[in-house]
Amino acid sequence: MFMSVEFALTLAVMIFSLGALGVMLRRDPLVMFICIEMMFNAANFALVAISQYLGLIEGQALVFIVIAVAAAEVAVGLAIIIAIFRNEKHVDVDAISQLRG
């Protein structure tokens, strides 16, 4: 073991927080997307670390499912971003607020 579980979890939290901050603060949808991926992978990382620590295989199996779902989600998300870009000619997230109440 080259990495203690505490270190791994701390790292996961940091990456997750960075991702969350990125989603909240950046207005470029692509960057927001990358930040969301960061959050996904932080969660995955925490899952792997815990599963290693507890000696259970389920956590790692779950990670694969998450990766598969994330791939699908990226495909849908990018398609939406491209569709918006075609219509609006710009990709400022704050400008896309037609669905407000």
């Binding site: 969350a20 989603v23 909240m24 603060l25 207005r27 927001m32 997230v93 704050d94 896309i96 607020s97 037609q98 669905l99 407000r100 109440g101």
Partner: protein, 640 residues
Amino acid sequence: MKTLYLVLFLPLLTAIFIRLGGARMSKRAVSVLATSSVFVAFGFAIMSFIALSRIEPPRAATLIIFEWLRLGSMSIDFSLLLDPLSAVMICVITGVGTLIHLYSSAYMEEEEGTEFARYYSYLNFFIFSMLTLVLSANFVVMFIGWELVGVSSYLLIGFYRTKESAANAGKKAFIVNRIGDLGFVLAIFVLMGVFGSTDFNVILPSANQLGVGSVLATTTALLLFMGAMGKSAQVPLHVWLPDAMEGPTPVSALIHAATMVTAGVFMISRCHAIFELSPVAMHAIAWIGAITAIFAASIGLVQNDIKRVMAYSTLSQLGYMIMAVGVGAYSAGFFHLFTHAFFKALLFLGCGSVMHALHGELDMTKMGGLRSKLPITYWTVLVGCLCLVGFPGTSGFFSKDEILYQVLTSAHGSIGLWMVGTLTSLMTAFYVSRFFFKVFHGKTRLDHNVFEHAHESSAPMAVPLLALAVLSIGAGLLGLPHFISHWQPFEHWLAPVFSDLVRSEGHSESLGLPIGLMALYTLLAISGIGVCWRLFANVSETPTKIAVSFSYLHQLLWNKYYIDEIYDFVFVRTLFGMSRRVVRWIDQGMIDGSIHLISDSAQSLGIWSREKLHNGYARFYAGALVFGTVLMLALALFTN
């Protein structure tokens, strides 16, 4: 006694049947069905009467229809009591009822089919209600009948429901009656408390338990009398009766002259054992009766609406009846009720016939000379008027004479009451003949066209008039004065009911007083008629001159002593003012206010969240998500 079921429930079943299916039946079928059901009920009433007469005195039969309530040790059954008093009443109700049903078939024929059916179902329902009232064997059933009568009266007064005055008159009658009913209900509670029962058979024979002359007895008697005051329209609760003339005329004849308004007199006669206990209450009753009699007669002197004149004369005659029972002359009062039922129904139907001929004209100042046009109406109304005036030989003469004689000689009576009664008698002669001469004699003041087209009504209207005219004359034979005849069927028949009374027998010995009184009344009647003949038989200026020279008095009478205005000012406006305040402060202010506060705050919360939270910025949503998650985590961490 099983025939009583038929007497009572035939009209009810017909009423329900006509109400449900009458709109689909022809008018003729409706009227035939309704009339014949009351007629059959009348037949059974006569059978019950005969069956009762075969029972040894004291005649009475109780019939329990079903056991109704068990309240602790007290049980209240739905039971009927047939005794001489109720037997007379059911015959009068169904008998006069039949004639008026018959009359209505012609009088109401211009109504539409559905309205016609509605009218008949109400009328039959009224017959049922009135029968329930008079046949009841305990106070609770009597109260049910009492209220049902009030409801059907309300429905029939407001029969022309699109007419606002009629609707208001119905409401007025109902509300004024409620005031009286309050007293009646309270009296029933007192009796329940003291006797633990509501049965007449239990309470009345042992009424002494209330204590002779005690406060309790006086209170109970006065509370009961309050009920009677409402139904029998005594001052100060008389205001509804003149307005009740907004209903169809046959209804006025049946309900507001012959039957319902006598319920109060009937009730006092029924409960006389309670009233006897309290001389104070008896005095009050006699005086209220006397005041009503003279009060209403004086208003009748100047009214021009023919139905209103009749309404005030009904009030006045009811006053006589109440005065009679108030001095303990129950039999005399009841006899007047009996004769009055015939001649007043006759007079109202006569008014109806005049109205029918003149397309609803009610103002007697516009009539005159109708004698030649309406011969049947003329002669029958003449009979009715003579009865009402108390012309010698008619039933009204004997019954009124008996009352005034009793008022003068009975232990409860007094010379003051007698003088009021006698003065009223003179006024009666005056206003009745004024009505008669103005409508039928002299030169007509009618529009030429209307006068030419006035014609006697058809047989269904003429037959009841003739029948009632015969009854009005004939009824007097049942109660001739004692010095004329020893044959006293009416008094004998009722004797078992009033047997417990110590009668102030003044009848037998001296002939001078009764004959003198009779001569006096005859003189009064004739002089009243004579004066009217001079004043009103031909058009003259004299009545107007008299009215002008006593203009204040005339105004006072014309405006019915301003009683309606006073009530309006004192009660109606105060109540409205109070309720307006309650509406404004409590209902609109406090209750509505708090509800509006809740709904308004919910609404503004919604508006706020729509505009501020649901703002369309994806980043804001993400932030909210994170914030929420962090908040929940923090809660989870720190609350454990």
